[in-house]
């Protein structure tokens, strides 16, 4: 460090004393308004700290006199948005599902709302794309256990399936043929082979033991040709969609223990509007009837 009081000849201002290869740094005074700008920011900061949440305390923080919070702001904007959409929402609540579907504006609003509600309430079982999983149906396809019309979907969402707490829930019970010793293991094996032939996965003609067992034990719900019956939520055994899997072991297991999947009823938890929106959304996934 050289003497910091050294004055630069050309500019007449002080130098900082820093020198690199003979070049010295000038210590030009800042303009005074710059200082004032700094003071203004300090005053601003004080005002801000009073008005808005600012200072962290041992638990929580100061709230500010304006009572602002980003969570509150979000709630306000959601309320404002809902108020802006109140006409649409009232119309959806009042209209039939068919009318909603026919009106492009109502349909697109209901579909978007349904998608949002689906992401919150349904994805845990049905998956984020409604693609389903073992035991939880894929809602994109055209296979419906209890019906794929708007009304049937609405009914299912409202009251659930085999959901005991809801009096209007739709229910059925497949017997556990093996566990309850209604059929011998050998019989279940033969039956399974026949069931698999219904969907073209095995060859077995209709005069076989398996066919007879099917006629006696299964056809009352699943139909003579295994086409299923939606009144009982009995799945079609003749199509390519298998909720629990199409391999032999899984089907044996299904016959042995039976399958009685449960879906909760939502009418207790969601309002009419949301359920309608959900029905519209699920119906619009590509398999709606």
């Amino acid at each position: 460090m050289t003497n910091s009081n050294e004055i630069d000849e050309i500019s007449g201002t002080n130098t900082t004393g820093h020198e690199w290869d003979g070049i010295r740094e000038l210590d030009t005074p800042m303009p005074r308004w710059w200082l004032y700008t700094f003071y203004i920011t300090i005053i601003w900061a004080i005002g801000y700290s009073i008005l808005y949440p600012a200072i962290p305390l041992l638990s929580g923080n100061t709230k500010g006199t304006l009572g602002y919070s980003s969570r509150g702001e979000l709630a306000d904007s959601i309320t404002a948005a809902q108020q802006g959409q109140s006409q649409l929402r009232a119309k959806i609540t009042a209209s039939s599902l068919q009318d909603i579907k026919a009106d492009p504006q109502l349909f697109s609003y209901a579909k978007a709302g349904g998608q949002a509600a689906f992401k919150v309430n349904c994805v845990q079982c049905h998956g984020s794309g409604a693609e389903g999983a073992k035991g939880n149906p894929n809602l994109n396809d055209d296979d419906w256990l209890w019906g794929g019309s708007l009304d049937a979907i609405y009914q299912t969402i409202s009251h659930g399936i085999r959901f005991e707490q809801d009096d209007d829930t739709r229910t059925s019970e497949m017997p556990a043929f093996g566990r309850d010793e209604m059929l011998e293991p050998a019989q279940i094996d033969q039956l399974t082979t026949f069931v698999m032939s219904l969907a073209g996965k095995e060859q077995q003609d209709t005069s076989s033991t398996g066919a007879k067992l099917f006629k006696d034990n299964c056809a009352s719900c699943h139909g003579d040709k295994g086409a299923g019956n939606r009144d009982f939520g009995a799945p079609s055994l003749a199509d390519q969609i298998w909720l629990y899997g199409a391999d032999k072991a899984t089907i044996v297991q299904s016959i042995h223990n039976s399958r009685n999947g449960v879906m909760p009823a939502w009418s207790h938890r969601l309002d009419e509007l949301t359920i309608k929106q959900l029905a519209i959304y699920v119906h619009s996934l590509g398999g709606g009837e």
Partner: protein
């Protein structure tokens, strides 16, 4: 031994002992004097032009038919469109604006390397508005000496009246400036009506308020402080200038030694330069500097000192150009006593050629893209979750969202098809019961200047399923203009 010897004496100097060391500096008020001359004329012309362009542009009309606004220049943020006369830009075409900014930047480099800081001196809004504010100030309070006197005088009714008048006029101009800005973002006549009936959106009033304040502060009070301390351009331009760039130069080889008493000096046989040290060049300078000290950061090369000095040279019957636009190269030559031709900027040197090339490349490629751009676009979004859906009969279905962009403000009939996928069937949401196979044309009505969204399902039967995922495409064509667009996508077999 005195008591004092028990007390230790420290070797220290108080930090504020050095009186010359000031941390902050109050600005000195500058009173630029009125001046006549070529460059002053030029500045009036440019000021009128730039202000006219700024204030009038939003009011120009341009007919685009019933489906688009008729404002020639409009940044329609709410509807995400930008209109510039015959050009309409959608948000995804914003690269045109990026291109324009590149051209503006490179153009500024080019102009600076040839003509120095002409942007600062003539066209910069800060310069233009400060000039306008000074004009008002001079009109109300008089020229330099009167203004100095007025500021020094005690407060009186006439001083108060003058100050009030000046600030009202400044505020009025500032309000007009801030006010004009918002008209670029909405239909000007409608917004003007709404603005004065207090029906305009809040953002319009806040924008006007902020811009009015900044214009008033920057134009009336900050003035040269903005250029010297706030603007980065004076710093950057130091790297842009070279020995062939025109800068305002005091030709000291001709002017020095300066003296205010030429006759005395001549009589006593001393050497005498052309500069009579009248300080006219200093008093006219809006930056308040002395150009005779050489090139300075503060100099915006407005050339008013040239006008001032030329006037003085005319009066004392000496040749003009004691202060002139000159390059460092010319100055050095003249310094060495070599003949100098009239200052002509050297246009063609590697630096300017490179700048021009980049500038032209950006401009031409944008022109090319603009001239050949399609006003029809098709985006295909494959459903991602699930990618594929197996149906009851074993067939596989894929879902797509097809977005057709009709970027013209005209109603159009268009045909959509998919092709390149054998044995596939297409269904569209909202068109119940209609099934299309590859190559079949779906007739669509495209709304003007709108996005047309279709939900499309494509299904391939179990017996026809390909062995692997298949590439295919959607194709749209506008019936009338034959404009078409093809977008490739994929058919997936598994979810």
């Amino acid at each position: 031994m005195s008591e004092q010897s028990f007390i230790e004496k420290f070797e220290v100097t108080a930090v504020n002992k050095d009186g010359s060391q000031k941390l902050f500096q109050a600005p000195k008020k500058i009173y630029p004097k009125r001046v006549e001359g070529t460059f002053r004329q030029l500045k009036w012309v440019i000021m009128t032009l730039t202000l006219a362009v700024y204030y009038i542009t939003p009011w120009l009309r341009w007919d685009r038919g019933p489906f688009a606004p008729d404002q020639a220049v409009l940044v329609d943020i709410a509807n995400r469109r930008f209109y510039f006369f015959f050009i309409e830009i959608w948000p995804q075409e914003f690269f045109y604006v990026a291109g324009l900014l590149i051209m503006a930047g490179i153009g500024l480099f080019l102009v600076t390397s040839v003509w120095g800081r002409v942007w600062c001196g003539y066209a910069c809004p800060q310069t233009v508005w400060v000039d306008l504010f000074l004009l008002v100030e001079r009109f109300v309070e008089g020229d330099r000496n009167q203004r100095i006197k007025l500021d020094e005088s005690k407060w009186s009714f006439s001083k108060l009246k003058k100050k009030f008048l000046k600030h009202s006029a400044w505020l009025f101009i500032a309000l007009l400036t801030g006010g004009a800005w918002i008209f670029y973002f909405a239909d000007a006549p409608t917004l003007a009506r709404d603005f004065f009936t207090f029906n305009a959106p809040l953002v319009a009033y806040t924008t006007v308020l902020i811009l009015t304040t900044t214009t008033y502060l920057f134009g009336g009070f900050m003035k040269e402080q903005v250029c010297t301390y706030m603007c980065p351009w004076p710093r950057i331009q130091a790297a842009m200038l070279d020995e062939n760039s025109l800068v305002v130069t005091y030709n000291d080889y001709r002017g020095e030694p300066r003296t205010a008493h030429q006759k005395q000096a001549l009589a006593s046989g001393e050497p005498v330069g052309d500069c009579i040290d009248c300080n006219k060049c200093v008093v006219v300078c809006p930056m308040g500097i002395d150009i005779r000290d050489g090139q300075q950061l503060e100099c915006i090369t407005c050339a008013l000192c040239i006008d001032a000095c030329d006037g003085v040279m005319d009066k004392i019957k000496k040749p003009r150009g004691l202060i002139s636009y000159a390059t460092l190269f010319e100055y050095d030559k003249a310094m060495a006593g070599e003949p100098v031709e009239q200052s002509v900027p050297i246009l063609f040197r590697p630096r300017t050629l490179v700048y021009s090339a980049i500038w032209a490349l950006a401009g031409l490629s944008m022109l090319f893209v603009l001239a050949t751009r399609s006003r029809l676009d098709v985006n295909v979004l494959h459903d991602r979750n699930p990618l594929a859906v197996q149906l009851k009969d074993g067939s596989v279905r894929n879902g797509y969202t097809v977005k057709i962009l009709n970027m013209e403000p005209k109603q159009h009939k268009a045909l959509l098809k998919f092709d390149g996928l054998a044995n596939a069937k297409m269904r569209l949401e909202g068109m119940k019961g209609q099934v299309f196979t590859a190559g079949d044309l779906v007739s669509l009505d495209l709304e003007p200047d709108q996005l047309h969204v279709l939900k499309v399902y494509i299904t391939i039967g179990q017996s026809h399923l390909p062995n692997s995922d298949q590439d295919f495409y959607f194709h749209a064509e506008i019936l009338k203009s034959k404009e078409q667009h093809k977008t490739n996508t994929k058919f997936h077999l598994k979810k």
